[in-house]
Subunit: 348 residues, 2 copies
Amino acid sequence: MTESRKKTVLLIGGGGVGAIAALNLETGGLAEVTVVLRSNFKAVNESGYQIESCDHGVVKNWKPTHVVNSVPDITKEGNEPYDYIVLTTKNIPDIPPSIQDLIAPALPPSNTHTTIVLIQNGLNIEKSLLKSHSNTPILSGVSLIGSAEFEPGVVVQDDTDRLLIGAFSNPNLPSTQQTSLAENFVKIYSAGGKTVCTYSSDVLYDRWRKLVYNACLNPICAITGLDTGRIRLADGGIEGLVRPAMKEIVTAAKEVAGVELAGDVVDTMIEMDPLEIYLAPSMLADVRKGNFIEFENLLGEPLREGKKAGVAMPTVEVLYNICKAIQWRTKDAKGRVKIPPKRGAVAK
Amino acid sequence: MTESRKKTVLLIGGGGVGAIAALNLETGGLAEVTVVLRSNFKAVNESGYQIESCDHGVVKNWKPTHVVNSVPDITKEGNEPYDYIVLTTKNIPDIPPSIQDLIAPALPPSNTHTTIVLIQNGLNIEKSLLKSHSNTPILSGVSLIGSAEFEPGVVVQDDTDRLLIGAFSNPNLPSTQQTSLAENFVKIYSAGGKTVCTYSSDVLYDRWRKLVYNACLNPICAITGLDTGRIRLADGGIEGLVRPAMKEIVTAAKEVAGVELAGDVVDTMIEMDPLEIYLAPSMLADVRKGNFIEFENLLGEPLREGKKAGVAMPTVEVLYNICKAIQWRTKDAKGRVKIPPKRGAVAK
């Protein structure tokens, strides 16, 4: 009886990555998904998603079981806690709200039932949650997908979904429990057979490996305005920028975390996205939309950890500081900073 | 009699810098200027320039003596050679035509009469001309002006014109002749009393000093999309990017050319433009207009010379490589490169 009940999943953030995650979870038939949407709530609530996907084909007017426009307050509404809260929003610690604040209505600090799944990029993203929710299991999701939302509810997935799930180590919980929760999530996510979701026992390895892409190719595309195809075609883009940055991250992975990335990881990451899909990685997509970028977890944390461990990271450091300036530019464009008024050319 | 004849000046490139140069030259009454225009020829030929200038005030419908839309072929037209050919175009050696090709119709290789004045930025810009016109004196103009053309013929100069003129050393000509040509140009440029144009005996010093701005602040503004006011206000823009890059250039100046830049040059250059004019330096203005940027003379040459001299220049090197990628992006946008066709998300 209990076994046949669908798992309840609250999925926060239904953009390019979240929409495909919701689709995979519901396609398998083992989960009932509530998706929390903001900018695309109206479009999806009225007409569902319009999806063009290399994994699922063309899917029109698809709606997850529940679509809501804010995180449900389970205490106020007297709801059962969710089995899983999956976060597929951007993780931008330098711009409020924090993810702890975001999930708070659906997750009391005393929670022991709900498992959090962070399908989010970057290093040390679990740290703040381990403090705010010390008895909550937290899973790490490292997604290698090419997917973007081009207008509200319109999602194009042009590179296959490959998702690695493992448990962030929580010292307050037995590790067997954490492992089994991760394996169970893999089961419900994979059940539809449209995607490759696998259990991973080495979260740090996964995260550092993806940082080879995300701390380097991703910001370099955002900064130069070139997609992952064009940066490979541009004069010196790979040899002058991407490869030197990636080598710094590979060295940092070893020195900081003892993570030995295979010798071909740099070339693998450079060629990760098929050239001819001209994929705009997340930071480039965000810059183009005038959104904030996830640079603190993607570049900031590996840089800080690497420098602390004595690794020379001159390329990543310049990229990081440029991203910081670009983030300020977005704050300025959104009216979030106050600057002195402009002076005319001719004295009045 | 000869002395009272106005000097003939062919000025190539009448944008933000060139328009103010033409205005200064004609205001003094000692020169008769022919301005060669391209994109703004129609506007200026029909209605003149509309200038708002901190040096000259508001100047409406101002026309130089002659306005033409191509470099005159003096041999074909049987014209006298010009006394001066002044170049105020961008100098972009990686994008044809070269400046030798550009001036060729007005300057036979055998020229001994005409003096070239390069009011252009960067290092080693005289090298190719010394080869193509080995008996032509070449003057160096280092301009510290804030001026931009916002639409064809509409120029806003919001920071004063300060111009340093000296002779690039030409081993085939007596140095006294070169010096006196430079001093004479200063005289005719300054005669109107609206500007500060001074003779300089140390061209390398001037050029390296300006590179502290142009190899650093200028590309950093272009890359981050922030003007010179905003980069000072942005989190970490100065300390994380501008200052480290400038220090590398100061070291390179010393090691490459024996140029000792004063201890306060970095701060002086950071504060060069009044914050509240929010000046877009040339490379940012060019990026915004979709134009090519002058990165090879501004960053490429100092970087190559610096590295050859053993100077560590990690920041400038990353900036250079980003500029290279941005230049490729512009080529791509202008259809000057051929790339493989885009593949759809769903297999057809």
